[in-house]
Amino acid sequence: MNAGPSLPDPRATRAWKAYFAEVARHLVTLPRETRADLQREIESHALDLLTPADASTPVDEEARVVAALRRLGPPHDYVPALVSERMLAEASATFRPRAVVSALASTALRGAAWVAIVAVIVVGYLTVLLFAAGGVWRLFAPQSVGFFRSPGGGVRLAILFNESTTGQDLLGAWTSPILLVLAGAGYAILTGSLRLLRRRR
């Protein structure tokens, strides 16, 4: 963050610095170069908003700065969207789990409506994780994981970690690869569709 404009009133300087400290706090998860670029652009906009003072009348510097920053909007109104946009783009392009976690965390910070959307997506990822864990666990506990036909005739998917089930194992050795493929496909679909969130406001 640069020092900002040269303001004679210390209260105006404080208001400016407080605003851009908050902007910086929201941007902290971004790479240094991107962070500096965005901060510089927002500061440049704020400088444009500081209307030239009329030399013939006394100027309330603090009011001028506060009015300019108010027009720009509270940082929490738009900076998290900037961060989330970038994180979602990275996650949906790289498919890296760490990028996905960062993208979901930054998106949830955008507000209550976003928390609800992220919660639904997290449930999707937990399901994917359960399928992946089931696919691996099946190798060690064949009677605990699989598609089983019960004596009554119904078919159910069981993924049990501390007990086993009864019934006819329908897929046998195919269970593990099928669950792993389903988990992989689910992960790819969920992560690829994160790009749709980028268009939402």
């Binding site: 510089r40 500061e43 440049s44 444009d48 509270p74 109104d77 900076v79 946009e85 970038r86």
Partner: protein
């Protein structure tokens, strides 16, 4: 000409909200239009949107949209020093891909306007 109905604060609020959402939904299109023929910076764009389109939003909200347009390679940006010194400004301009997308958006907009007009006149 139908008689003018007295103003109703409830219906006015609904209409205002609808109109505001409609304008916000057009932001991508409007920003691309603004940089179609000339380089512009954020403050300049929002000033035009305020005065020409009556868009009343927190000015910072255009930056997530500009970031998305940049990442989609519909626009490119460059920092330019201000005349007389001061902090430089980031200017945006349309790319060839942006121009193609804008043409499609313009066609959609014209089609939509035509369809709505047809409904208004012949429903």
């Amino acid at each position: 000409v139908p008689p003018r109905e007295p103003p109703d604060s409830h219906s006015s609020a609904i209409t205002e909200n609808w109109e505001s959402q409609l304008r916000k939904g057009l932001l991508d299109f409007l920003l691309l239009l603004l940089v179609r023929d000339t380089h512009r910076y954020g403050y300049e764009m929002i000033s035009i949107l305020r005065s020409e389109v009556g868009l009343d939003i927190s000015e910072g909200t255009i930056y997530p949209i500009l970031a998305r347009l940049l990442r989609a390679e519909l626009v490119v940006s460059t920092w330019v020093e201000r005349d007389g010194g001061g902090a430089p400004r980031k200017y945006y301009k349309l790319t060839a891909e942006g121009r193609r997308v804008l043409k499609q958006m313009q066609a959609s907009w014209i089609r939509l306007g035509f369809d709505v007009q047809r409904l208004l006149l012949h429903r």
